[in-house]
């Protein structure tokens, strides 16, 4: 086993906390091969455990792809350690029904990505700088590969470009596929310690990509994903969070799953709302009517289900300061005021939901705050019309 591979295997296993070691290793197919008689790790020091495991992996000649698979499994268990961006793909209207073939998609994606990277490195394209939410149409590099892949270049390329990028797939629940991409160049093997993850839900237009420092590689990744999944365009949504499951719940509109049916046993009026008025008869509530009104509005806007978990919302303001009071310095500017407002919370939507009932804000709340799940955005740019 190559030294770099051994190091990669060791570092990947070291990342795993001892408490999760068994769960994660047992999900890893290679673990069965190394025939480890261990079934639990209680009472063991991590270093000795890792040492034994790495030796066994070396014995059985673990490859980079095996270690990459373990890395995917680790990331699936610790998905909140990455920040996820949401991308949406679109098709031309009137196209064929999507007959998604997973095998075809995987081989297609790998080929297209490898060729696009090769093209990008051989022919650095004069692409316009990509802004955060601009759509990335097929750039020069991708167009070039489409032309070249049809010609005699096609077969020669695959032999040369295998180590430009290493791609690993793992199927997940709900028909999703996790893709791990480690990026390299013509002169350097792929860097296994800074991979990009893609979580793609086939037959939906959505993919979730982990934020990475390598800005230049994301457009190519987007193009490869778009073409392999038979779409035409990919757009990065202004929606970002660590909580992948919340992003998915919001984008797939699965966060409100309470429906009224005739089978319901609890009549609606008697359901206790989140912030109960105390049942203690010694407490008299003076503004009961106002409290009820606020409660009703809050429930209409936020529903009575647990809110999906987001950690921030950011508003970039480019507006003129409007004030009815004595015109101060701010009101006399000709150019718009630029400022950034960021709301952070362990659970932003629950916090917003409790603002009005707690008396901190008026109900109804500003639509800029309440539109986050409906608009699938938490990055806003507000300009004067």
């Amino acid at each position: 086993m190559d030294e770099t591979v051994a190091e990669f295997v060791k570092r990947t296993i070291l990342k795993i906390p001892v408490a999760e070691m068994m769960t994660i290793l047992q999900a890893w197919g290679f673990y069965l091969k190394i025939n480890c008689r261990r079934t639990s790790t209680s009472g063991e020091r991590k270093e000795s455990l890792v040492h034994d495991l790495v030796l066994l992996c070396e014995e059985k000649r673990a490859r980079v792809s095996d270690a990459a698979l373990l890395d995917i499994i680790y990331t699936q268990f610790h998905r909140h350690q990455k920040v996820w961006d949401v991308f949406q793909m679109t098709k031309e209207p009137g196209g064929d029904i999507d007959l998604f073939d997973m095998k075809q998609f995987k081989s297609s994606f790998k080929k297209i990505l490898q060729r696009a990277l090769k093209m990008a490195q051989l022919y650095p394209a004069k692409e316009a700088p990509q802004s955060d939410s601009a759509s990335s149409h097929m750039g020069n590099s991708a167009r070039l590969w489409v032309i070249l892949s049809r010609g005699p270049f096609a077969c020669n390329m695959s032999r040369v470009i295998n180590f430009l990028v290493s791609v690993t797939f793992r199927d997940a629940e709900e028909n999703a596929v996790w893709i791990r991409i480690a990026w390299g160049t013509q002169y350097r093997k792929p860097n296994q310690y800074k991979p990009t993850y893609v979580v793609y839900y086939p037959q939906t237009p959505y993919a979730f990509i982990s934020s990475s420092q390598l800005r230049s590689s994301i457009p190519l990744l987007g193009q490869a994903l778009t073409i392999a999944s038979k779409h035409h365009r990919i757009v990065k949504m202004d929606f970002r969070s660590r909580y992948l499951d919340s992003l998915k719940a919001i984008v797939f509109e699965q966060y409100n799953q309470t429906f009224e049916t005739h089978n319901a046993t609890t009549p609606l009026q008697e359901r206790s709302l989140g912030l109960d008025i105390n049942m203690d008869s010694r407490i008299i509530h003076e503004n009961r009517i106002e409290k009820d009104r606020v409660q009703k509005i809050t429930e209409e806007v936020f529903g009575d289900y647990p809110q999906p978990r987001l950690e921030f919302a950011q508003y970039k303001l480019e507006t003129k300061f409007k004030s009815d009071l004595n015109r101060g310095i701010l009101a006399e500017r000709n150019e718009p005021l630029r400022c950034l407002v960021k709301f952070s919370s362990p659970n932003l939507l629950e916090a917003l939901k409790s603002l009005a009932p707690a008396g901190i804000a008026d109900a109804p709340l500003s639509p800029l705050l309440t539109c986050i799940p409906k608009k699938r955005m938490n990055y806003f740019k507000i300009k004067d019309k």
Binding site: I97, D98, F100, D101, K103, N175, T204, F259, H262
Partner: protein, 293 residues
């Protein structure tokens, strides 16, 4: 609390909060050590207590008597009771009917803002999942929330007919969901009940509109393995639109294999997937099967 003493608080608090607390403590100690009022006042209070207790007992007895009288007088109102019971039974019946409407496949319940539609899917008499669409009745009509899976083209169907023809929207959505549920049911049945016939894993996708598998018509026997690829290009059907059965391997196939292959292709195109394999299980892979249906 003595109001007279606290009036001194209206000015500046003398010595602050601690001093005030000390004063309160001294006062309470004084009260504790003093006798609790004169003996005359005591006995007056005692007799008042006895009076009030007697009054309370009298009132309690009166309430009990009244209650017994009401019960006794209720006995003759049998007719009222019967009609109440009948009404209650009717109410339960209607509730049960409303709940049973679910089994028609398309039912709904009025909500404060519109209607919540329930689509109960079924395939060949088997009840499968149910899906909900909560509609807000406003101009324009809109969907508030729903439980339709994300890969069903709900937005497309809504764009086509939600505003213009609600019935068409609902029927179209029913079609899609029932077809999806039917395809999923067939694929699940194949995977669970006929796993012995499959030579490898069943390849499927979210919509269950592309199925690819390798199978033998006899489980683990001498039969030749075929590769089947079923495409459902129409999302509202439960039978494949395209079927291709091929054989792997480099040997030239004998005419009997070719015949088998053609008949399998035909079966897969015309019969539900799990029925085809049930027929294989019964040993009936030949063309005679066509006559039985």
């Amino acid at each position: 609390m003595d109001l007279a003493n606290t009036s001194s608080q209206e000015g500046e608090p003398k010595g602050g909060v601690l001093a005030h607390l000390e004063r309160l403590e001294a006062r309470s100690r004084k009260k504790f050590e003093e006798p609790q009022g004169t003996p005359a006042a005591e006995s007056a209070l005692r007799s008042k207590i006895l009076q009030l207790r007697r009054l309370r007992d009298q009132l309690r007895a009166a309430v009990e008597r009244h209650g017994a009288r009401v019960e006794a007088s209720a006995e003759p109102d049998q007719a009222l009771q019967d009609s109440e019971q009948a009404l209650e039974r009717k109410r339960e019946d209607v509730k049960a009917i409303l709940q049973a409407y679910r089994f028609t496949g398309l039912s709904g319940k009025l909500t404060s803002r519109g209607v919540c539609v329930c689509i109960q899917t079924a395939f060949q008499g088997n009840l499968l999942d149910s899906y909900f669409v909560d509609l807000v009745i406003q101009k324009p009509l809109r969907i508030h929330h729903h439980s339709v899976p994300v890969f069903i083209p709900l937005e497309e169907i809504a764009a086509k007919s939600l505003q213009t023809d609600l019935r068409h929207f609902l029927f179209s959505l029913c079609e899609h969901l029932n077809a999806y549920a039917g395809r999923k049911y067939q694929a699940d049945r194949l995977q669970s009940d006929f796993a012995a016939f499959l030579a490898g894993p069943l390849q499927r996708n979210a919509l269950c509109n592309l199925l690819s598998f390798t199978y033998k018509a006899e489980p683990g026997g001498q039969a030749f393995p075929f590769c089947a690829r079923l495409l459902y290009k129409d999302l509202t059907v439960t039978l494949p639109t395209d079927v291709s059965v091929t054989y792997e391997g480099t040997d030239t196939p004998s005419p009997s294999w070719e015949e088998q292959r053609a008949s399998h292709e035909h079966l897969l195109r015309t019969k539900p997937l799990h029925h085809v394999f049930a027929a294989f299980a019964r040993g009936e892979e030949r063309l005679e099967l066509r006559l039985a249906y």
